[in-house]
Amino acid sequence: MISAGPSGGLIRRAALVAAACLLASACNRGILEPVGPVGQAEKTIMINSTAIMLAIIIPTMLATIGIAWWFRRGNTKATYMPDWEYSGAIEMVVWAIPALTIMLLGGIAWIGSHDLEPSKPLPGTSPALKVEVVSLDWKWLFIYPDQGIATVNQLVVPAGTPVSFRLTSATVWNSFFVPQMGTMIYTMPRMTTRLNLQADKPGSYNGLSSHFSGDGFPGMQFQVQALPPEQFAMWAQGARGQGTPLDGRGYAELSKPSSYVKPMIYGAVAPGLFDAIVANRTPSNPVPTPQHNRPVPGSKA
């Protein structure tokens, strides 16, 4: 049993992260290898829709080649119909084929849009973990309001637990995207977007910004670590009080433009920081001293 004291927690956390990175070195195939219900549903829709459309398009492409070849000028066996330019039956069919296909796909689109609406909470037995996301120039800040900690360029989540995101941007538009988890969503200054995702199994997944945001944009990669729930709780508990606090001064420091930022942890966060960022009020109050013996919400006792 590893000690739950501060230094033991740090080592434990580092070991977890290292192991997760090793797992991730196997090449990942993005949205084709979803790890959660959202990404899985989206992949299914994509494959089904592609199959439906290929069923129409492949015969059309073959017909194009076939007809062009058969009716080539040199082919005396083909019938030349120089005045044939209309057929009601054919018109009905050529309007019907695309129309029926689109009706089918339209139904899929309607149902899919509602089922997979990003702001819709995911069904689940465990209560959702709340994460607040802020895109800065040019890194990602993840605030855990219930745990009282924050991370930069590293998102740690409990596996099998829905994660409920509120997102904003401190400067320009970005787009929060973890391909293997599914849906992306824009982050926009002075506005809050909502997203719900879940990683079903532990692992390490790549994250990025998928909306160009300036010169430091390529450096906005981040890692998502999905840990078993108990380990997540221990990680969160152990992170409290570590490192610098994310108060007014800490946030001002973080806001300075930088890119390819190494993952960081803030052991304390000014309360209401996310809402202050949305309202364009930089926080000025220092962070209240964390109380180490209070259990972290969401962890098992």
């Binding site: 090449c27 993005g30 949205i31 990404g39 989206e42 992949k43 994509m46 829709s49 592609t50 459309m53 059309t60 492409m61 017909a63 194009t64 080649i65 007809i67 062009a68 009716f71 080539r72 000028r73 019938t79 030349y80 119909m81 120089p82 330019e85 054919i90 018109e91 050529v94 309007w95 695309p98 689109i102 796909l105 339209g106 899929i108 689109a109 899919g112 849009s113 509602h114 997979l116 609406e117 702001s119 400067t171 320009v172 538009w173 293997q180 599914g182 849906t183 992306m184 824009y186 200054p189 002075r190 977007t193 790549n206 998928s210 160009f212 300036g214 430091g216 390529p218 450096g219 364009n280």
Partner: protein
């Protein structure tokens, strides 16, 4: 005195733009001197620069577009090279500040100064001929439109060696494009260049809608117009209604940047989502401006080279107008991931799919045009078939993107990039290459070399697929667009294949130039003697190649669809031409330097605004206004072509036609 402009604006410390600029200036100077030494400047001034002849204005548009194609392609191959090199530890050879300008310039140039001019150029050349009239409704305004477009292109190119270009992508979304995050002149170059050329585009739209609806040959009712004219009408209607929205979006951004307004800023209550909506309300119809005339070209090519009328003419017309209208109802599919909610996303997604229906109908109608025909595999036909195979896949990926939950995972990815290049290259570029080959003999009196033309086709077809199929895969793997550095080394082989594809496309572009030069050198072997080298079906093939300035000695009477075809078949059957009509003197508009002078002042004013040189901007405005007034004061609007000249030209045409009457048929 000179606003923000200082010597530091010239990129002495950046080798790539510096050397490129020097080379470009040297090439321009060399060409200018070569033209002068050959004594061609007067001819170019009279026949082209000040021309009010739609044919010559069309040629100028196409030349501008081809030059800008080289510039835009150079940007593309630089991007491909960077993405192949900048993997893992390597940062490649282009730092982000530079790479970001390159992809922004690539998109801006390809859409606004390559695709738009080349499509507008084709419509300029062909539409009045197909309508059986002498010119567009407003010939001088046509000239002005061209020069305003050229002025925009000029400013974009000037940004290469004076200052910098925008680093915000080709649409310049705020807040990134606001002063706070893009303080340099780059975004201003972008905004000013587009506003100036946007005026030209709206004037073109007014011109062509008026021409098509109000000036056609006697007897040519709407349902007797060639399909290319219908698609030109639809395209120009979209231009007329969409470009003012772009003007507003860009103007509001300019007001934010120059006067501190708060349309899209992060403070003061600004709303950056408003820009997204405005720009895409323009942006989606814009792509239909490009693709509808492309569809029109395919209709002409399909029927001519199958030796049959176009299948389902009325269906095609209806489909064209349906696309025209629905194109205004889909714009939100460009930002499904902005969080508008399920209902709104779903409605726009379904609307976006609905536009696939008339498009699908067109594909089938072209298929049935070939069915029962006698297909000749000329270069334009290659492009038609290449298009039909390529575009439908682009349509498939488009419908996929129209499904919001799918878009949620591929939005802004390389999958998206592959999709829109597929439909633009497969749709617009192939059509333009087909149209270029098809109408070249009409413009210049000789056909292009076939073998080289087919080689160009294969370079484009193979090159396109190599360059973009890997991008679909990478998009699935989580690769997003506009990346100066590639995070995952396993992507590199695919990016290398894409680079090879780009090189092959480059080879195709080089071969296009080679084909042109070789065809000019050997033109006597491929003279278009009769004016109808392809056994055509529409009125432009009635004239000799190139046609006289006034196109037709007497405006042709049109009875029934495919007026020229019926007339030709009757003449062949009866072995004689129609009765010689009465010739009259013909009034044609005079040339005018208004266009180039207005564009000069517009460029001056634009440059001044970009660099905050206010006295020069005001001077430019005053100059432009003065030119208007000076133009309005002229008394000579037209010159008369004497009836003897008309009669002599017409009789020569009739003599040649009679002599070669039976050679015109190629389907039997």
């Amino acid at each position: 005195m000179f606003g923000k402009l200082t010597w530091s604006a010239i990129p002495f410390d950046q080798p790539i733009p510096l050397i490129t600029s020097i080379v470009m200036l040297l090439v321009i100077a060399a060409v200018a001197v070569w033209v002068w030494r050959n004594g061609w400047w007067p001819h170019i001034w009279n026949e082209y620069i000040t021309s009010t002849d739609h044919k010559h204005i069309g040629i100028m548009y196409i030349v501008l577009a081809l030059v800008m194609l080289v510039r835009g392609f150079a940007d593309a191959i630089m991007m491909r090279a960077q993405q192949s090199l900048a993997v893992g530890a390597s940062q490649g050879y282009l730092p982000p500040e530079h790479y970001n300008q390159i992809f922004s310039a690539h998109g801006t140039i390809m859409i606004f100064f390559m695709a738009m001019p080349i499509v507008i150029g084709m419509m300029n050349f062909v539409v009045p001929l197909q309508l059986g009239v002498r010119d567009v409704a407003f010939p001088t305004m046509n000239n002005v439109s061209f020069w305003l477009t050229a002025s925009g292109a000029l400013l974009v190119n000037v940004s290469l060696f004076v200052g910098e270009f925008a680093r915000t992508g080709w649409l310049g979304f705020p807040p990134l494009s606001e002063k706070a995050f893009s303080p340099g002149v780059g975004v201003d170059y972008y905004l000013v260049a587009l506003q100036i050329s946007g005026v030209g585009t709206v004037l073109t739209a007014v011109n062509f809608v008026t021409t098509i609806l109000k000036t056609r040959a006697p007897g040519m009712s709407y349902l007797r117009m060639p399909v290319f004219c219908w698609t030109a009408l639809a395209s120009n209607l979209i231009m007329l209604a969409a470009f003012p929205v772009l003007t507003v979006a860009l103007a509001e951004l300019m007001l934010d940047r120059y006067l501190g307004f708060h349309f899209f800023t992060n403070d003061g209550g600004g709303n950056s989502m408003l820009y997204m909506n405005l720009i895409w309300v323009w942006g989606h119809p814009e792509v239909y401006i490009l693709v509808l005339p492309a569809f029109g070209i395919y209709s002409e090519v399909a029927s001519t080279f199958s030796g049959k009328p176009l299948f389902g003419y009325r269906s095609m017309v209806f489909a064209t107008l349906a696309i025209c209208i629905i194109s205004y109802m889909v714009w939100l599919h460009h930002f499904f991931t902005m969080g508008a909610g399920a209902d709104i996303n779903a409605v726009f997604g379904i609307a976006s799919m609905i536009i696939g229906i008339p498009t699908g109908v067109k594909i089938y109608n072209w298929l049935f045009t070939m069915y029962g025909g006698r297909v000749r595999f000329t270069v334009p036909m290659y492009y038609l078939i290449g298009f039909m195979l390529t575009f439908v896949v682009g349509g498939l990926t488009g419908v996929l993107l129209a499904i919001p939950p799918v878009d949620f995972v591929v939005h802004n990815s390389l999958f998206l990039v592959a999709h829109f290049h597929q439909v633009i290259i497969g749709g617009v570029v192939f059509a333009v290459m087909a149209g270029y080959t098809y109408w070249f003999p009409k413009a210049f009196g000789f056909t292009l070399d076939e073998r080289l033309g087919k080689a160009v086709f294969w370079c484009w077809f193979i090159g396109f697929h190599l360059a973009f199929m890997p991008l679909y895969v990478l998009g699935f793997w989580g690769a997003t667009r506009r990346m100066q550095h590639i995070p995952d080394p396993t992507w590199q082989p695919w990016l290398n294949v894409a680079f090879v594809g780009a090189v092959i496309i480059g080879l195709g572009i080089v071969l296009t130039v080679v084909q042109l030069l070789y065809s000019i050198k050997t033109r006597d072997q491929r003279r278009d003697v009769t004016g109808d080298p392809w056994d055509g079906r529409t009125l432009e093939w009635l004239t000799l190649s190139p046609p006289p300035h006034y196109n037709f000695a007497v405006l042709p009477d049109v009875h029934g669809e495919e007026a020229y075809w019926t007339r030709k078949q009757t003449a062949i059957k009866q072995d004689q031409l129609i009765e010689e009509p009465d010739y009259q003197p013909i009034e044609m508009p005079v040339n005018s330097p208004t266009g180039i002078i207005v564009a000069f002042f517009a460029s001056l004013c634009g440059f001044a605004i970009i660099w905050y040189i206010w006295w020069l901007a005001i001077l430019g405005l005053i100059g432009a206004f003065a030119v208007f007034v000076w133009y309005a004061w002229r008394d000579e609007h037209e010159h008369i072509i004497p009836v003897e000249e008309v009669r002599a030209n017409a009789r020569e045409r009739r003599r040649i036609r009679m002599e070669h009457l039976h050679e015109l048929s190629q389907s039997t």
